[in-house]
């Protein structure tokens, strides 16, 4: 089965294996005129440790709002989010956040930016420097550690953003459309880079993407949301062909099939088998 009821696929996992649990989360926004907009309704899903999960859906489906709730930057109107066994009440250092446009501090060097999260945590200077250097090496930017953001290309800036999130050694990496602002070539490089980082660190990763290909390619599982009100439509298992290269994965028949299936789900339909094959 590829489509399951929300939360089902991880339901058999023991609680200790769960990195993130989203339970019955709803979010209602009120605008200035007193209109109330239901952005999310009863969203539930689970993420196992070391899993890569994509949240995807058309614009307005609440995927970014959902991620911001997991980040702790928004509060749910009802429901709870549990990360690493702790209920989320606000931002926390068990979650490393990667912003869409990197959002580096322009007056700090790459290394200084990576150190930012560690400073807030009160890590001693020596230790901080060592952790930041480790993180910046991990994203392959050791040579550019002392450059300022304006001296870095878009891809390099986003690497610094990832290093900053990794430096605090979070349980979960949360990424909001991390590669959407990059050109196609750079995006492909960064996607490979992310999987490499995942292989080396084993971090749990949740990312938001509106890019069908990217979701299928990078994630082990894709959670699709549909709008009005934003809710989980289905989950799709995309953990195929692990261990091969990204290009092998991208050109495989399995990729094409999953991509086709995800496209249907994103549009709120159920999976229709392709004429030449059956829904796996």
């Amino acid at each position: 089965m590829t489509t399951t009821a929300p939360g089902h696929s991880a339901a058999d996992a023991r609680p200790a294996d769960l990195a993130v649990e989203v339970r019955q989360v709803s979010k209602v926004f009120g605008d200035d005129r007193g209109h109330r907009v239901q952005a999310l309704k009863d969203v539930s899903f689970q993420v196992r440790r070391s899993e890569i999960v994509a949240l995807t859906g058309r614009s307005g489906c609440g995927k970014t709002t959902l991620l911001r709730i997991i980040m702790g930057l928004e509060h749910p109107s009802s429901g709870t989010v549990v990360v690493d066994g702790d209920v989320v009440h606000g931002p926390g250092l068990n979650r490393g956040i990667v912003f869409q446009n990197a959002e580096l501090l322009p007056w700090r060097t790459a290394l200084g930016n990576v150190e930012f999260g560690l400073e807030a945590r009160g890590v001693p200077k020596e230790e901080r420097r060592a952790a930041a250097e480790g993180a910046i090496e991990l994203v392959g930017l050791g040579h550019a550690a002392h450059r300022r953001p304006h001296e870095l290309s878009g891809g390099m800036r986003q690497r610094v953003g990832i290093a900053r999130a990794l430096a605090i050694d979070p349980a979960v990496l949360l990424m909001d459309e991390p590669f959407s602002a990059l050109d196609a070539q750079t995006r492909e490089n960064m996607q490979g880079e992310l999987l490499e980082i995942h292989a080396r660190t084993g971090k749990t990763i949740i990312f938001v993407s509106h890019d069908i290909d990217e979701s299928v390619l990078l994630a082990d599982r894709v959670v699709t949301l549909v709008p009005d009100p934003g809710r989980v439509h289905a989950e799709l298992d995309t953990a195929f062909g692990r261990g091969g290269s990204l290009d092998d994965r991208r050109t495989s028949a399995e990729f094409a099939r999953r991509r086709h299936e995800l496209l249907q789900l994103v549009h709120g339909r159920q999976i229709q088998p392709q004429e030449d094959g059956k829904s796996a």
Binding site: G72, E103, E119, A120
Partner: protein, 280 residues
């Protein structure tokens, strides 16, 4: 803004940065030549025109230069500059000390904005010259009234630019602090204030112009010493060469001070020119 910048961000950024630098240098060299040519042409026109006019009404540059040398060697010009410089500096520093914190508070706290925001706007919009007679009643004819004029002319420009800067700090930049669990004071010192520095520097640069007007107005009214006093005396005694000499000194001082602010800005906020693109 950032999305666009990243799309256009060079892949091989070292090479591009270098070629950009060379292009900039070539262009600024040519620009400087054009500027020098403009100055020379203006001086020639002035020289020719002024020689046609009654010498009690106008003075050619050559006569102004002779007068200037004479005023410097007899010590009257350095003394006038010194008399103006003291209230100028004290008033300007007072404006900085008051204007920046006021701007930060009005920008950061809605209550403060509601309480005194209107006062800052009114003070900036209103011609402070109108207050000169009152200031003379309050502060007499000496140092104090000059300082007060400089201060009131300058403080609102600094405050309003700082305020504007605080309001333009991107929400996402502050969110970086929130996401990495930085405390409110950390967010203020590590994120808000560095972000506002370019706006503060703009306020300081505009403030120089305002402060120069302030000191000259005060000296015109009181007619006691300083460069403004020299101008008034020379005008009353039909000595246009001395008058223009003082005007030239005033102009050079204002340009030099503005340039100095630019240098300070590049020193404390070197990242800004490359972000705003003004360094092209």
């Amino acid at each position: 803004m950032t999305a666009l910048a990243e799309q256009t961000a060079p892949v091989a950024d070292d090479e591009t940065a270098l070629s950009r630098k060379i292009r900039t240098q070539r262009r600024s060299g040519r620009d400087r030549l054009v500027t020098a040519g403009g100055v020379v042409v203006l001086l020639i026109i002035w020289e020719v025109a002024a020689r046609q006019v009654n010498p009690i009404l106008a003075a050619p540059p050559s006569a102004v230069f002779t007068a200037l040398v004479g005023m410097i060697s007899d010590g009257s010009m350095p003394q006038a500059v010194w008399e103006s410089a003291q209230p100028f500096l004290v008033g300007y520093l007072l404006a900085i000390v008051v204007g920046i914190p006021v701007g930060l508070l009005v920008g950061r706290f809605r209550v403060v904005e509601a309480a005194i925001g209107w006062l800052v706007i009114a003070g900036y919009a209103m011609p402070m010259i109108a207050l000169t007679p009152v200031f003379m009643l309050w502060f007499g004819l000496g140092f104090a009234v000059k300082t007060a004029m400089v201060m009131t002319m300058t403080v609102f420009a600094i405050a309003i630019n700082t305020w504007n800067g605080v309001q333009n700090v991107p929400r996402t930049t502050i969110e970086v602090g929130t996401a990495f669990c930085a405390s409110q004071p950390r967010i203020l010192w590590q994120i808000v204030i560095p972000s506002v520095i370019p706006s503060i520097m703009t306020g300081l640069r505009i403030g120089i112009g305002k402060a120069v007007v302030g000191i000259v107005i005060a000296e015109f009214f009181t007619a006691l010493g300083g460069i403004g006093g020299v101008i008034v005396d020379a005008g009353h005694s039909f000595q246009p060469d001395r008058m223009f000499a003082a005007v030239v000194v005033l102009m050079l001082a204002a340009v030099a001070l503005t340039g100095l602010i630019g240098l300070v800005e590049r020193w404390i906020a070197p990242w800004n020119r490359s972000i705003t693109g003004s360094g092209r």
